[in-house]
């Protein structure tokens, strides 16, 4: 039986996974033989944007206000 979690809690777990996932991507880009290090700052920047997008999706009723605050 899969335990259902609230939207906020699920959102928090997903948001927490952003950091290790981004680290995974940054590490791969850094080591890539095709020289993709130039992409790293953009990836980090967009990962921060992802937190905002996730928050807005988790609390859809407050989504416009979350965007406005940022």
């Amino acid at each position: 039986m899969i335990r259902k979690r609230g939207k906020l809690r699920s959102g928090a777990v997903v948001a927490a996974s952003i950091v290790p996932s981004t680290v995974d991507l940054v590490r791969a880009l850094w080591r890539d033989p095709a020289h993709k290090r130039w992409l790293v700052p953009l990836v980090v920047f967009l990962s921060l944007t992802a937190v905002l997008l996730l928050l807005a999706a988790s609390v859809e009723a407050l989504a416009p206000f979350i965007y406005s605050i940022f």
Partner: protein, 591 residues
């Protein structure tokens, strides 16, 4: 080891469970959510798989996702950057989709299933396709070709798979073609150009192609051309799919092939425009086949292997598969029942088991029936509650004789048996069956049951032992026919007596039924043959237009009640519609 495979987020999400090296169950989310091509995280499918095996999520040893989300994010980002500034429209949407959810699969799996992050693994998209094709096949050693729209970066891969006597397995992908050069995107672009839905209407392009002449083949060849090293490249001047999210083709493509068809517009093959669309479809199909044949010939020369395993959505193209078998030099071609993304759930789980964890190879049962079983008691209860006459056959023999009689009398039967199929084809466990004899039956099915375009053919099912009598199957053809993966000619002398399943070009996408795998369906074919002289049945998926194939008895019953199906069968329970005519008036009175 208990390994759960998951595919999700693009189209056709699914879950599959492998326990101690063998699949236990696998099902597409759409079969349970009842939303066609459901791409959402397959929570219902996962839940059903775990329930079926009596497992809790924490008892899983690994959860394997079918692609690498970070590599995919990189591709989406780089593609947007390369198209700058033309990608300004698609960028916000792509980022909202990807960064807002899809990229963080690890977190999604952890939050939905409650499994620790360390147990979550990721195969490459085309590794999953390759594993689904090779590890489910009986081949000891085979060349592998996978082709689809796009995974992470790869759109087509070539490699080889092998099983060693000590039980070890290896899958080595040698090279790949990268986005935006893609056979799948090429075909999908023309699918959209012809006014059909992408990821759904590709069958229609294949069906339509038979009505046309490939008079645009040279122009299409210039668009999809070979490279010096034997790979392929698209002339990107004809495409916009990599630049904007609005339209897949560019104005250059319209200059060459004329205005596209609007999705709502009727497709009348008698008009010049209708003929032009059929000709475009024929040209695209011809070139796709030619290019695949060239690729597989080269692969055969290079590997020297006799078997080929095909994976990816492109492997659903039965006409191309048949030409590969005929012309590539491979003796056997294996296409799994679910070569598309749904099958990747199973492929990912098997890859993790055999390659990552080094599990001993075990032959995977060679069938497609991994979904939920049908409950005949449920059909009986529903029918009785609605005042329909229920017949319970005393045994299998009586059942098939009774149903064969109805089929021979021209009735349309909704047939549910055992567990539902994984993949897009109904292979006799969730099928609508009818007489294949005349084109009238095809028209009746289109009009009263399937409500679909007239140019789409229906498929025949035939017992393995006699398939060759009715269809021109090349050596290895019966294997392709096992999961309806090949299109072959109907023998000319039978075409007039197989009018409902013979396409306009004299071919059929035949299913060759193995008595070991589908004993009841096989017996039904023989019983029907004993009555009519031809043991062939029209077999189409048990669903209505826009709906997924039925999974449970209740969905079969509902489909039966809403369509022109005369008889529905689940297990040994038979329900006929004949006496249901008064129901509508009764309902109105009581409401």
């Amino acid at each position: 080891m208990r390994i759960l495979g998951i595919s999700a987020h693009y189209h056709d999400s699914a879950a599959a469970l492998v326990v101690d090296g063998l699949p236990v169950c696998a099902i597409q989310e759409e079969r349970l959510s009842r939303r066609k091509n459901d791409s959402a995280f397959p929570l219902a499918a996962v839940e059903w798989c775990l329930d079926e095996a009596g497992l809790e999520p924490e008892e899983l040893d690994a959860v394997v996702f079918y692609e690498k989300p970070m590599r995919k994010l990189e591709r989406i980002l780089v593609t947007a950057l390369r198209a700058f500034p033309r990608s300004w429209r698609s960028f916000p949407q792509a980022m909202k989709n990807t960064l807002g959810e899809k990229a963080w699969v690890k977190g999604i799996i952890a939050s939905r299933l409650g499994v620790p992050a360390r147990k979550i693994l990721f195969t490459e998209h085309h590794q999953s396709h390759a594993a689904a094709a090779f590890l489910t096949s009986p081949a000891r050693e085979a060349a592998i070709l996978t082709a689809d729209g796009v995974g992470e970066w790869a759109t087509l891969t070539e490699g080889r798979g092998s099983r060693s006597p000590d039980g070890g397995c290896a899958i080595e992908l040698l090279r790949e073609l990268r986005f935006p050069h893609s056979l799948g995107m090429f075909y999908s672009t023309f699918t959209a150009y012809l006014g059909f839905e992408v990821n759904e209407g590709e069958y229609k392009v294949m069906g339509l192609a038979s009505y046309g002449e490939p008079r645009f083949a040279e122009q299409v060849r210039a668009i999809l051309r070979p490279t010096a090293d034997g790979a392929l490249e698209l002339d990107l001047g004809y495409f916009d799919f990599h630049l904007s999210g609005r339209r897949a083709w560019s104005s250059r493509l319209v200059d060459v092939f004329g205005p596209p068809r609007s999705p709502g517009h009727p497709l009348d093959l008698a008009t010049p425009d209708g003929k032009r669309f059929a000709d475009v479809a024929a040209s695209v199909q011809r070139v796709l086949e030619d290019r695949l044949v060239e690729l597989t010939r080269a692969l055969r020369r290079e590997t020297g292997l006799r078997d080929l395993c095909l994976g990816g959505g492109v492997a659903l193209n039965g006409c191309a598969n048949a030409r590969i078998l005929n012309e590539s030099g491979f003796e056997r071609v294996f296409v799994p029942p679910a070569p598309g993304d749904a099958g990747c759930a199973l492929g990912a789980a098997l890859y993790a088991d055999r390659i990552h964890f080094g599990g001993r190879d075990r032959p995977v049962p060679d069938h497609a029936y991994w979904g939920c079983p049908v409950d005949a008691g449920e059909l009986e209860r529903l029918a009785r509650e609605d005042g329909l006459e229920v017949e319970l056959a005393p045994g299998d023999r009586a059942l098939v004789e009774r149903v064969a009689e109805e089929l021979a009398n021209g009735r349309i039967v909704g047939w549910m048996d055992g567990r539902c199929e994984l993949g897009p084809r109904a292979l006799g466990n969730r099928s609508i069956l009818a007489s294949p004899a005349s084109a009238d039956m095809r028209d009746r099915l289109n009009r009263e049951v399937k409500f679909r375009e007239e140019f789409r053919p229906f498929a025949p099912a035939v017992p393995a032992g006699v398939a060759d009598r009715y269809f021109e199957l090349p050596p290895g053809g019966a294997r392709l026919g096992r999961f309806m993966s090949g299109v072959f000619p109907v023998r000319p002398e039978w075409r007039s007596r197989l009018g409902a399943v013979t396409h306009v070009d004299g071919t059929a996408r035949v299913q060759v039924v193995d008595p070991e795998v589908s004993p009841r369906f096989h017996a039904l074919l023989l019983a029907y043959g004993a009555r009519t002289g031809i043991p062939v049945l029209l077999n189409t998926s048990f669903n209505l237009s826009g709906e997924p194939i039925v999974a449970r008895a209740v969905e079969g019953y509902s489909t039966f009640r809403r369509s022109g199906i005369d008889l529905v069968v689940a297990g040994r329970c038979i329900v006929a519609k004949a006496r249901a005519s008064g129901v509508r008036r009764e309902e109105e009175a009581v409401s």
